[in-house]
Structure formats: C-alpha cells, structure tokens
C-alpha cells in the first residue's frame, strides 16, 4: 500500500515538473498555480505513503537508504508546497519538483523498506535526530536551488539577454531572500540534528567516533553550510550564491563518492 502511495506521489511530482518545464519553455512567468496544486496533491499522497509505511512496519521511514531518500524527497516537496503559497516563489518548482521526483523515484527503485539492522539508539530521539537533520539538508537543497536561479537571472540581466529565465524566474531580490531564509533554516536544523546525534552517541556509545565516514561527512556538510551562511551576510549576493552552490555541489559529490567507495552497511542515506 505504501509503495502505491509513494509511486503516485512520484508521478505527481513528475507531472508538476512537466508543468513547470512547459511554462519555462514558453517563457511564461513561473507563478503557475496549477504547478503548486499538483505539488500539494503529490505531498498528500506522499504523506499517506509515510502513514502506510509506519502502520505496516511500526516505525517511520527514516532508517535505510530507500526510506531515508523517500523522506528527504518529502521534505523537499513540503518546502516547495510551502513556497507555493507565495506566487513569486513558485518558480523554484522548476528545480525542486524534478529533484523531489528523482529522489523519490530512486528510493522506489532501491526499495522503500526497513533496513533491519541494529542501530546505536532508537526511540523518539533517533526520530528527532534524523528528521531534523533531513530538514537541514532539505533547507540546503532549497537554498542551492534558489542560489542557482539567482546566478542565472543575474547573468541574464547583466548580459541583457532577456529570455525564458528573465520571464520565468523570480526577481533577484526574491531569490536572494529565499536563499537567506532557506540557509538559516537549514543551518539551524542541521546544527540541532548534529548536536542531538553527538550527545546521544557520547551517552550510549561512550564517545564521538570522528573516524566514522558519516560523521566526517555530516560535519563537513555542516561546515560548508556555515561558510555559505557567513558568505551570505558578508559578501555581495552573487558571490554568496556562488559559494552556496559550490559548497552544496562539493558536499553532494563527496556523499556520492563516499557512498560508492565505502561499502559500509548502514552509512546513512
């Protein structure tokens, strides 16, 4: 049952992506209400999928690659749904809808089922640690999407080639504000997530394992996010956007490399 709901959500995210892509191709403003409505429907189906999963397996879909990816996709889609209330911000769906669709599709291909391994700690604190960390990553995805659009819109305005990007994308001011809010929210959430994980690892495992690849990656991601945030408040918006996108790309690439090269079972996500 949960797979059907997840699959329907993926289809709806794809439909929203197509809607945004068509508007972009026709150089129309990205304030499409229909795109936002399709995303709402997708989120509804996605939440149903989470509910079915929880009822079926007795735990939220947070442990294991498939469930984790599905939950990350949900948080990105939720952020997009939230942005849908502001017509000027809906254009972010051009990037976020396909990202959510791709991550959820990948999760479906891998299989959305519990991993079944013994974890260091369980219960509400684990749920909180993983959930809030995912909120942090989702916030960064939104910030990186807004920063990418900022760079493209900046380029179009600077070079006076006013085409589809000019028409579809929000203003530089809007994109800059969105990046700032998403960075702040993402950083706060990831900081909290890492702090909770750190505290509980010390308590239940006797110390923080600095050599653990997932710890190295999570702390690197947190540092990169900190740099992006400090750039946002100290440098011109374009430079800050560049740092943001570059940092996000580096951290994502590092994750992929680590995932492929370290076959450690349980490496989160």
């Amino acid at each position: 049952m949960h797979v059907t709901a997840y699959a329907l959500a993926a289809v709806l995210y794809v439909a929203a992506s197509v809607r945004y892509a068509l508007r972009f191709a026709r150089a129309r403003p990205g304030t499409t209400a229909l795109g936002a409505v399709i995303v709402y429907a997708g989120v509804f189906s996605h939440v149903l999928g989470v509910g079915f999963y929880w009822a079926e397996f007795g735990e939220p879909p947070l442990v294991g690659l498939g469930p984790s990816l599905a939950t990350l996709a949900l948080l990105i889609a939720l952020a997009l749904a939230g942005l849908g209330f502001f017509s000027a911000a809906r254009a972010l769906g051009l990037i976020l809808a396909p990202v959510a669709a791709s991550i959820l599709a990948l999760a479906l291909i891998i299989g959305i089922a519990p991993m079944g391994s013994e974890l260091g700690f369980r219960g509400p604190w684990l749920v909180f640690h993983i959930s809030i960390s995912f909120v942090g990553y989702a916030g960064w995805v939104v910030a990186a999407a807004a920063a990418s659009m900022y760079l493209l819109q900046f380029r179009e305005l600077k070079h006076k080639q006013l085409g589809a990007v000019f028409e579809f994308f929000p203003s530089l001011g809007t994109l800059d504000k969105l990046t700032e809010w998403a960075l702040i929210a993402g950083f706060a959430a990831l900081t909290l997530g890492i702090a909770v994980g750190w505290a509980w690892t010390i308590r239940f495992e006797g110390g923080f394992r600095w050599t653990n690849p997932k710890v190295i990656w999570a702390v690197s991601a947190w540092l990169a996010l900190l740099v992006a945030l400090s750039m946002r408040f100290s440098r011109p918006s374009r430079q800050a956007a560049l740092w943001n996108v570059a940092g996000f790309a580096a951290v994502s690439l590092a994750y992929l490399v680590a995932k492929l090269m370290i076959p450690e079972h349980g490496f989160f996500l």
């Binding site: 129309r28 305005l157 006013l162 203003s171 530089l172 001011g173 011109p236």
Partner: protein, 433 residues
Amino acid sequence: MPFAVVGLNHRSASIEVRERFAFSATEIPDALAHVLAGSGVAEVALISTCNRTEFYAHLTDPDSAIPYIINTLARQAGQLDKPAERYLYVKRGEAVVDHLYRVVSGLDSMVVGEVQIQGQVRDAYEVARGLTGSRQAVRAVFNRLFQSALAVGGRVRSETRVSEGAASIPSAAVELARKIFGSLRGRRGMVIGAGDMGELTLECLVNEGVASVIVASRNMLRAQKVAARFGGESVAFSDFWKQLPETEIVITSTAAPHAMISLADFRRHMPAKLRSPLFIIDIAIPRDVEPAIGDLPNVFLYTIDDLQHIVTASHERRMAELPKAEGIVALEVDKFWRWYSGLRAVPFIRQLREQAEFVRQSELSRALSQLEHLSETDQQRVERLTRDLLKKILHHPTARLRAAAEDGREHDILEAAQYLFGIGEDGTDGAEA
C-alpha cells in the same frame, strides 16, 4: 439595428481635437441624462479617456437618436476648424458589440493590450449604472453588454499574452527594476538631469513604491519642481556623487555632450564592491554613463536603446497574439448576439404562456366545480397535474422559438407560431383580429 456607438479615438482625431470632445468625470452623468432625454435612446453609456470619447447607446429610434448624440458631442467640442462629424465615427448593430469588446480588451488602444482601458470601461459602466429613476441609463441589455465586455477583456488578457511585457520606455524600466529588486517599495531612487522622459520614468517608479527620491539638476528650479512633485529632495548637480552610494535606482537624462559618469569617477566615489544591486537607467543621448560601468559587479546599466529593444520585443509578442485575441472577441460577439437575438422571441413567449395559463385556470376551475367530492389533497394533485402538463407541452415550442430567434430565423417561425396560437405580433390575441 438597435445599438450604436458614436465617438472619436486616437485614429480619427489628433490629441488637440480629442481634448475638445472629452468629458470630465463630473460632466458625464449630465451628458448621459441629456442623451437619454432626447428621443429614441433606451440605454446609454459614455467612455471618455485621453484616447477616446464614445457614446454607446441602445436605441429605439436610430434615425432621431444618432443625430442627437452627434449634436451632443459637437456641442461639447464647441467651435472646431472642421465640422464635428468629420472626426466622428458611427457604428451600428453587431459592430458596436465587436467594437466595445475590442476596446475593453485593449485591441483598439494606441498601445495594443494596455490594461488601463479595462478599468476605464468599468468606471464608465458604473457611472451609467449609478443613474436611477427617470435618468436610468442602464437596463437589462446594457447590463449584459457591459458585464460580458468586462469578462471578455479579462478572458483576452488571461488567455493570450496581448497585455504582457513593457509597452513603453518607462514601463520597461519598471519591469527591469522589479526583476532586480522584487518589490520596489521603499527603494531609494535618484534622477540626474530631470528631463521629461526622466521625470516620466521616475513617476512610474514612484507609482511602484520607490519612496525616497533625489533630484539633481543644473537647473535648480526645475529640480525643486520635480522633487516637490514626488515628495523628494532636490540637490545641486555637483552633489549627486554624494548621494549615489545611498541610491539603488538611478535615472540619468541630462543634455550633457559627453559621459558625465565616468568609470574613474565611479570608482573614486563608490565602494569597491557593491553589497546591493545598483540599477542605472541611462536615457540620455548622448549617453551620460560610461558603458564600462555596466561591467562592474552588481551594477545593471541599461541605455535607452536597451530599453527600446525590450519594448520592441514586447510589442512584437503582443502583435503575434492579436489573432488569438481577435478570435476570442469574435466568439464572444457571436455569443452575445445570439443572446440578444433570442430576446426578440420573449414578448411572444410571454403572451403564449399567459394565454395558456388563462385557459388552464378557467378549465381547471370548471372541472373542479364538478369534482367537489374530491379531497383537498386530490384537488391539489389535479391542479399540479394541469400545471405540469402545460409546462411540458410549452417547453419545446418556447425553446425552439428562442433558438430560432438566436439563429436569426425568428421571422418566419414567429409568424407561423402567431398564426397557429392565434397571438398577434404585438403580443395581442391575433385570433380576435
């Protein structure tokens, strides 16, 4: 031919002539009452903007009404170098609906697709609708006509791109400013030079929310006048550099023969790295701003040529949308005209129903007087039976008559129906005649 539009617009008359025919907002109610007081006008509305003055009338006697409206317009214009009729056009019948729909959609405007006309037509309708009693200017037909016109305007704008994009240099500047800053509310603007185009551009930006305005000009009187108009501050021309670092939007329109904002000066007076964007609109010829400044980070420099390119591209896009917009107008004109034509069958249908109801009631009371043994409930059942029978019998003939009228075939069919049911053309009982 019950409709007429009489008026003039930017194509039939120059601005000097159009000004003479224009009615102020306070004059319009009296002008409408004056036209209604003449013979042959059932409903009337007046659209008076800087580009057109038009009386729309629903007529009962076109032969007397149209000359009367022309006289009303001629009286408003006063003495002209040519007779007023030379500037006026008269359209009749279905062409009036087509004209109004095109006007409200912006297809008949000087700048195709402009949106202000929608509000101006709505205002004209509201003013006419506001007249009541013996001066009632709008009734069922004009209510339908103007409401449908406003809906057509909305449909054309939402389903086509005929109103999208900048239509003028100032609106192109506003569009760009919006794409750079998002909301312009509270932004700081400066105009250097205060020429007419600069002032017009500033006006558009202020209308969008630009709050703090500085005017720098060699002509201090002119600077003070422009600054006072926008609630801003005037400064000496030489002081504009002091203000520039605090400014987000700059309009330059001086008559200087050379670039007065050079790269070297800009570097000397401005921070090395601008934290927030600076939008410079250089509408002077020759240019006021050295082009290399546009290459600096966070500086967006647009010249009058750049803005003109945007306007031209937008105009081409609007023109490409015209066939689609005109298709919508044609479809809606047909729809309105079918509804209006259907009204021709209404008096006959009303008479037919009244006559049938009279027969039903008299036959029912005769029958019930012979069925006194029936209970009250049963009598009500009989009453309902006759009513339902009548409704069903008349349903098809009335629907077909209305459809025939909408298709313009009402003449023969109505004549036949009048003969068959014994009802006269004027709604009297034809059988008695």
